[in-house]
């Protein structure tokens, strides 16, 4: 095989006159790279001589004939070329810096095709291993945060293995999938694989921001793609790495609590009076007197607490601990390479009792079978195990419903402490949160296997025929259980108790998914005088299959035996099966002219199983051009200021089938539900008309878009930048929209609507100081900026808005015609024309609007990532910050905080009567400014905060979503290689300390939690909602040590 040799051109030419008198002699030396590993196959050329060239052997050694005064040019793929002058000395040891000139960098793009960056006419970002794992994230998604223009990553929760939502260039599909396609070593994998991949195994992540760049992946690619490539062994000596990292996790931002008032309320201890029973914090001001809490126990003992503010609510969350151990071996020779790795991670969370562990194995390799046949493979196996509570939300809610004067943490030992045990627990209405966490548990196991085999046959030079088979399979099982708890008769009946026995139950489920991807394509590359041609034709076959079975039993008889056979009555059971297939045929051609102008066109036709036969195929083309002005225009060549300028533009059309459900299978016909109301009864079955209507002839959604941009480097690449503007529209939205239940149905699945997304992506870096060659100080600063304008243009005349994710059926995230996608909607106060809140002229109480209205946009309009990296004599510092702004979030936990009276808002009027701010009332003829009608029951359980409309008015809890986060800070130190060499064991030792989310600054009106969280989950487009299902956002501190052998 002889692919076109990628010639790295040396940027630094040293004008040196050759002494013609000098005699030729044999010069020898050794070329090494990172960690002083020898580089084999490096090219050594004598400058000015066309023929004098050689390459290094396996040990990195070379011999070449040269004259004194000659300049040797040393180059190797993946390293910065360098030159040395031949002097009297005969031996040259050259260390090459890992560096690739940006314009000639080879990147892996769609379909695993390797292309030079300069040939690409679409925007994207490549994140390399060093950059990805600097702060030792446990997941790849976590390591990408803040680093890529146009990519928005949201942790959908806290927890031991947070899920992430990854969206490129905003949302396109109203209710379908908007997440970026994840491709791991040429295999399309589910997004969750990113959370289970060992980040240490990743060589690079190529983010293809637009649909055009990813068009080869077919209909999955309309959301852009993340091409993740794992490490391969390198030809040369073997390298063994061993690393251990410990990370501490501490909650870094808490809801804001009021600190002045404790237990009391109108029902149980009238407001102003202390109540020993009440859980709501609407009592009198703190006086720091020790008082009883709760009813006395059956044995007469009485719990008590000082009536003063306790920090218990913030101390409830624990310090989590993550331990990662990594091991990898990399090796290679002329015919094969091998990379093997293993990782073991254990995590304890900030939620009491939550545990998680993960084990990864990977084996990647290549093998040259003959000059014409090359094999490569990658495979990984991951298993993870969760032992967590299922009730994070209710546990958090229970905790918030403990009065401010009670230190929650003293109730941790509920098994032995009689005041903490549910029987004696002082609060009859809300369970001890520690008990909740212990009594509702979930054990989940996931096993993932991802593998890819590739055979490449090169019958003639320039023609490659590639066959690939990829598989991703997930095998999972879960057991969720609730423990039995029996109260004493005394506990059940004493003093207002609503305690009732908790029956034990168990849910057991098992499922698998298997995704198969077969690729077969031919690639032909040729150069005809000034033109280069690269043509690909291929076909892709995809099959996705899933099955799950769940079974449940209630009223378990033997305590502690969580088995479905231990229940009473008929166990509940359910089964579901899904299969979808897709066939794609595609062609891709790239024509280059003189290495500075490139035209790239692709076309693909897909047939899918999930649409009706007459409708199930669709074609989509894409094209892009790139023009390297600095190569094309003579005047710009070798310019000291302008070192690189590429102009690019692209157009694309991609279809996506978004039918909802699993893989979109079986969504074309309305169904009948069985099993409601206890059916079947004996031999009698029951079916009921399903709730979703389906419009005939459902079509794919079509995204059409353009992008234009440029890559600009200045000052010999000290300054690098790229800028992309994009504009896309998505038509024919497939939507299951909620409809009036008076139609007899609650949803209609139909094609309607259009969304648009346009924006600007900008990345720039500047190497302020560059002393890399002498290992002196090198400092690079830069960042990325994304501006996003993401809108719903229209849905349909009959359905001007669509609920994406809601609480009840009111407050939530909606798609609304001519508005940002999505917006937060909910109730507001009734207001006059001037926006003043209308209050009742006698009670002073405001009123709630009749219908919901738009309260804010949930689209992150501005996103900034800033980074800094500095190196000095083995030290390396890197910092990443991220800002998001220009959007709002609905903080649903606000209602719980107001209910419990622990929330900051509830004390802003010092629990006294107050005139509602900025309000007016109707005096019979007009609205007059309210200065004197105050709300009487401003403090108390029955008062303004809990029982009135306060908690129903959504706008009370809509806050700015803006934040600054110090995402990553890491400082590492690599021991000098000479020192390591002395040990004769280690080739390198690196120690590092790192932190993530060290600083979290929220908007001033955000008293609640991290707006990055997504209460609706990673799969929902209803972003902009947070709640108590997510534990408070955390800060992470860690340290690691890495040995290289």
């Amino acid at each position: 095989m002889k692919l076109r040799k990628i010639v790295l051109f040396s940027a630094m030419l040293i004008g040196w006159s050759v002494t013609s008198l000098a005699q030729s002699k044999i010069v020898s030396g050794k070329v090494t790279g990172a960690n002083d590993q020898p580089i084999s196959g490096a090219t050594i050329k004598v400058e000015g001589s066309a023929s004098a060239a050689t390459s290094t052997n396996d040990k990195g050694e070379f011999k070449i004939s040269a004259k004194e005064g000659n300049v040797l040019q040393i180059s190797s793929v993946g390293f910065k070329s360098t030159s040395v002058r031949v002097t009297a000395a005969g031996n040259y040891n050259v260390n090459l810096e890992v560096y690739v000139n940006i314009m000639d960098e080879v990147v892996v793009t769609a379909g695993g095709i390797k292309t030079k960056r300069k040939e690409i006419g679409t925007g994207g970002t490549v994140i390399k291993a060093d950059n990805l794992i600097a702060a030792k994230p446990v997941t790849v998604a976590g390591g990408l945060q803040g680093k890529v223009a146009g990519l928005q990553i949201n942790a959908t929760n806290g927890g031991v293995n947070p899920s992430f939502r990854l969206v490129l260039r905003g949302q396109r599909s109203l209710t379908g999938n908007n997440q970026a396609l994840v491709v791991l070593d040429n295999v399309i994998v589910p997004n969750e694989v990113l959370g289970n991949l060992n980040p240490e195994d990743v060589e690079s992540v190529n983010v293809l921001n637009g649909a055009g760049a990813a068009a080869l992946y077919g209909s999955s690619a309309s959301n852009g793609a993340l091409i993740v490539t794992t490490k391969k062994g390198v030809k040369g000596a073997s390298v063994v790495n061993f690393q251990n990292t410990n990370t501490w996790e501490k909650p870094g931002f808490f809801p804001k609590f009021q600190r002045g008032f404790g237990a009391g309320g109108s029902a149980y201890g009238y407001w102003g009076n202390f109540s020993y029973l009440e859980n709501q914090s609407y009592g009198p001001a703190f006086d720091n007197v020790n008082r009883p809490i709760g009813a006395p126990l059956e044995n007469g003992k009485q719990d008590s607490a000082v009536y003063g503010y306790s920090e218990g609510h913030t101390k409830f969350w624990e310090t989590g601990m993550t331990n990662q151990t990594d091991f990898s071996i990399s090796s290679g020779d002329d015919n094969s390479t091998l990379y093997m790795s293993g990782q073991y991670v254990t995590v304890t969370g900030t939620t009491p009792g939550d545990k998680y562990n993960r084990t990864n194995f990977r084996m990647n390799g290549t093998r040259k079978v003959s000059n014409k046949i090359n094999l490569s493979y990658s495979s990984s196996y991951t298993q993870n195990r969760y032992d967590i509570t299922t009730q994070t939300g209710s546990m958090y809610g229970n905790m918030l419903n403990m009065p401010n004067n009670v230190d929650v943490t003293k109730y941790k030992d509920w098994r032995n402490n009689e005041f903490a045990n549910p029987i004696g627990f002082y609060n009859p209405w809300y369970l001890n949160p520690y008990f909740t966490a212990d009594n509702w548990r979930s054990n989940v196991r996931n096993d993932y296997f991802v593998a890819n085999l590739e055979v490449k046959y090169t019958p003639i030079q320039g023609l490659d025929i590639v066959a690939r088979q990829g598989i991703t399979t997930r095998n999972t099982s879960n057991k969720d259980w609730v423990g039995q708890f029996l109260y004493t008769a005394y506990a059940k009946t004493t003093d207002q108790s609503s305690k009732s026995d908790i029956a034990a139950s168990v849910n057991d489920g098992t499922s698998y998914t298997t995704n198969l991807l077969t690729d077969f394509f031919a690639q032909y590359q040729r150069k005809i005088s000034d033109f280069s041609l690269n043509v690909i034709g291929g076909t892709q076959w995809r099959q996705d299959q899933a099955k799950s079975i769940g079974i449940s039993a209630n009223g378990l008889v033997i305590p502690g035996l969580y088995n479905v056979s231990n229940g009473v009555g008929t166990p509940g059971a359910g089964e579901s099966n899904y299969m979808a297939r897709q066939l794609g045929v595609y062609a891709d051609a790239r024509v280059g002219y003189k290495g500075f102008a490139f035209l790239h066109v692709t076309g693909r036709k897909d047939w899918v199983s999930i649409l009706a036969k007459d409708n199930n195929s669709f074609f989509y083309p894409a094209a892009d051009v790139s023009f390297i002005a600095t190569d094309a225009i003579g005047a710009l060549k070798n310019n000291k200021v302008l070192s690189y300028l590429k102009l690019r533009a692209g157009w694309s059309k991609v279809g996506q089938v978004n039918l909802g459900g699993v893989y979109g299978a079986y969504q074309l016909l309305p169904t009948f539900n069985s099993g409601a109301y206890g059916f079947p009864y004996g031999t009698m079955a029951g079916y009921s008309v399903g709730n979703t209507l389906v419009a005939p002839n459902l079509q794919p959604e079509i995204t059409k878009g353009i992008e234009v941009g440029f890559d600009l480097n200045l000052f010999r690449d000290k300054f690098t930048s790229n800028v992309t503007y994009f504009d896309t529209k998505t038509d024919n939205q497939t939507v299951t929209t909620s409809i009036s239940s008076s139609t007899g149905f609650t949803g209609l699945r139909t094609n309607t609507g259009q969304t648009s997304s346009k924006g600007l992506e900008l990345t720039a870096h500047y190497t302020v100081i560059d002393n890399r060659r002498n290992k002196g100080l090198t400092l690079t600063v830069g960042g990325n900026y994304t501006y996003l304008d993401n809108n719903v243009n229209f849905i349909s005349d009959q359905l001007p808005r669509l609920a994406l994710a809601t609480y009840g059926s009111t407050a939530g995230s909606y798609a609304v015609a001519n508005r940002a996608f999505p917006v937060i909607m909910g109730y507001d106060y009734k207001r006059d024309a001037g926006g003043h809140v209308i209050v009742n002229p006698t009670t002073g109480i405001p009123t709630k609007s009749d219908t919901i209205s738009v309260l804010g946009s949930a689209v992150v309009k501005d996103k900034i990532g800033l980074d800094l990296s500095a190196e000095y004599k083995g030290f390396r510092l890197s910092v990443v910050m991220e800002y998001r702004g220009g959007y709002s979030a609905y903080q649903s936990m606000g209602t719980e905080l107001d209910w419990s009276g622990t929330g900051w808002r509830t004390a802003i009027y010092d629990r006294k009567s107050f005139v509602f701010p900025n309000s007016v009332y109707w005096d019979g003829a007009k609205y007059v400014t309210n200065t004197n009608v105050s709300i009487a029951n401003g403090n108390g359980n029955n008062g303004f905060w809990t029982d009135g409309i306060n908690r129903d008015v959504t706008s009370n809890y809509v806050t700015s979503g803006a934040f600054w986060k110090l995402r990553e800070v890491s400082l590492s130190y690599s021991l000098p290689s000479a020192l390591c060499a002395k040990t004769k064991v280690f080739k390198g030792i690196t120690v590092s300390a790192q932190g993530r989310n060290l600083l979290i600054l929220m908007a001033k009106d955000n008293y609640y939690t991290d707006p990055e969280y997504q209460d609706a989950g990673s799969g929902s487009n209803g972003v902009g909602l947070t709640g108590i299902n997510q534990s408070p956002p955390s800060k992470f501190y860690g340290a690691s040590i890495k040995f290289t052998f």
Binding site: A267, Y268, Q280, P428, I460, Q461, L463, K492, T493, D495, Q496, S497, S498, S500, D501, A503, A522, R526, K527, N554, G555, V568, T570, G572, E575, A580, L583, V585, W607, I610, N616, Y666, T671, F672, S674, A676, Y677, G678, F679, Y681, M684, G686, Y687, S688, L693, S738, S740, S741, S742, T743, G744, F745, T746, Q798, L799, S809, K848, T851, I852, W899
Partner: protein, 535 residues
């Protein structure tokens, strides 16, 4: 560099060879593509049924009606003074202020329409299939019943354009009076389907798929007559019905109970039992307890009814009671199994049942309309001159049927003690009360009060929503605002602006505001807006 041109020469030679390969490759693709077409034909749903017939739909639809009625019962019970907030719970909010929001009781709307769609499916399915005439008739009757539930709760609702799927995505709201008029016609049509079924040879019998009347067509006809009577009595003087005659089959004389085979098993219990008594694995709702107002009709405050009192309430006459809206440490907690399960033992989820009273047990049938209600409707219809029935005979039969219902045990056919003797005792205990001894009622107002008051007692936790409808229509049983706790069932923290301090209606659900915004009637409040038949 001369080597390079050599290479391209070599390539030129191979070009033909490559062309052949390319053609072969393209051919392979086409073959692959066409053979794959069949492989794509895999979209048959392996998880859910996409077709069903009325035999499969009717049983679940009727059972769904029972579940829906149970929701209406819970709503009616708290609104009409059967229940009050119990100790140990807070946060009753609008349940005690009556200042309802659009999310209160919103399940009544969505569940009823969801249930209605199943009946509509049977109606559509059976339209041109005479062999399914009985199913079409049953579905029409149940559709009328469900729409009356909606109108009585919401007044104007979507009717003429409702249940037609995509044809009307935002159905208009029809005036409540028009709907009432149409429902009577629909019931005539239901009757016609049964008549047609009788005349169709090879008609599919309802048989056991009919979990309401077990295939008894005569009872269905009586049921239809009774539903029509209820419409006409309630809208008397407000709606001009097209046809006010009834078929010769008469009215229900026994309780119409839905029972698909309720059993003490997960999700298969009588819904009223699992809401208030016990679930399959433990305690049910303990947030409510008997209201002082209704207790006065049992404990001698207003009437003496020791028999039904003891067979309705736990620990009667020492049953815990409360006045709606009163919260505080003085209020008792509900016992396990609630106060509406009268037996002292067994009071555990695994064996409780076999009881008289409104809950009876996990396997009891769910009442759609009781014989007592039918008799009281007939008494009132006669009193109003709608029919020429006998007033007192039906009144007395109503009281007797009410006692029978209360005294019936879980199986519905055996009684805790002789209900007839208890009725006699009841008349004797209240010998001066025209509310019990109908002959003492002299004016039509007193007669109506007696009928509705006895109906109120008969419907206690049986079909509570009907009692609420009748109170709003007639003002009976009487309430006195500002008197003792037992004199009114209005909440002590009522925000109602009405004279009786009670709500007039519930609000349209928020979903309608979201999905049917234009048609939704505006300006509806719980206090000033009323149902068209309201007093």
């Amino acid at each position: 560099m001369s080597l390079k041109s050599n290479k391209s020469l070599v390539k030129h030679k191979l070009f033909n060879m490559k062309m052949i390969k390319a053609i072969f490759f393209a051919g392979l693709l086409i073959v692959t593509a066409s053979s794959c077409k069949k492989q794509l034909d895999i979209n048959t749903d392996p998880n859910n049924a996409v077709i069903a017939n009325p035999k499969l739909v009717l049983p679940q639809a009727l059972t769904g009606t029972a579940s829906n009625l149970n929701g209406f019962n819970s709503m009616g019970a708290q609104l009409v003074g059967y229940s009050a907030n119990a100790g140990g719970y807070g946060g009753f909010g609008t349940s005690i202020t009556y200042n309802f929001s659009s999310s209160d009781f919103s399940g009544r709307w969505s569940n009823t329409y969801d249930n209605l769609e199943d009946y509509q499916y049977i109606i559509n399915y059976s339209k041109d299939k005479p062999e399914y005439a009985y199913y079409g008739g049953a579905a029409r009757a149940m559709k009328a019943l469900s729409f009356q539930l909606l109108v009585d709760a919401y007044n104007d609702v979507p009717y003429s354009q409702a249940l037609q799927g995509a044809a009307y995505l935002t159905p208009v709201y029809d005036p409540a009076k028009d709907i009432y008029k149409s429902l009577a016609t629909d019931l005539d049509s239901a009757m016609a389907y049964f008549v047609k079924g009788d005349a169709t040879s090879g008609v599919t019998p309802l048989s056991t798929y009919d979990v309401l009347f077990k295939g008894d067509v005569v009872k269905w006809k009586q049921f239809i007559n009774t539903l029509k009577l209820r419409l006409i009595v309630r809208a008397n003087g407000k709606v001009t019905f097209a046809n006010t005659t009834f078929s010769a089959d008469g009215f229900l004389t026994s309780d119409a109970l839905i029972n698909p085979g309720y059993v003490r098993d997960n999700g298969r219990l009588n819904p009223k039992w699992s809401t208030w008594g016990y679930t399959a694995t433990g305690d049910a709702n303990k947030a409510w307890m008997p209201n002082k107002y209704v207790m006065a009709f049992y404990d001698g405050t207003k009437l003496i009814d020791a028999g039904r009192g003891a067979n309705t309430y736990y620990k009667f006459p020492l049953t815990g009671t409360n006045q709606l809206g009163v919260e505080g440490t003085s209020i008792q907690s509900s016992p396990s199994g609630s106060f509406w399960y009268p037996l002292a033992s067994p009071r555990v989820y695994s064996t409780a049942g076999s009881s008289p009273g409104p809950l009876k047990g996990p396997t009891a049938g769910y009442p759609v309309i009781t014989a007592a209600e039918a008799y009281f409707l007939r008494a009132e219809a006669a009193l109003q001159g709608i029919t020429s029935d006998a007033v007192q005979a039906n009144f007395d039969a109503g009281v007797a049927a009410a006692f029978k219902y209360t005294y019936a045990l879980e199986n519905g056919s055996t009684y805790v003690s002789d209900p007839a003797a208890a009725v006699t005792q009841y008349r004797a205990d209240n010998v001066t009360s025209y509310l019990v001894n109908f002959a003492l009622a002299t004016s039509n107002a007193q007669k109506l009060e007696a009928i509705i008051t006895q109906k109120y007692i008969a419907l206690n936790y049986v079909n509570s929503e009907e009692a609420w409808n009748e109170y709003r229509r007639t003002g009976y049983p009487t309430v006195v605002t500002g008197g003792p706790a037992y004199a009114t069932f209005a909440s002590t923290v009522s925000e109602s602006t009405r004279a009786d301090k009670l709500p007039g209606r519930i609000l349209y659900p928020s979903q309608e505001g979201s999905y049917n915004t234009t048609n939704l009637p505006k300006g509806i409040t719980p206090f000033t807006s009323t149902i068209f038949w309201a007093k």
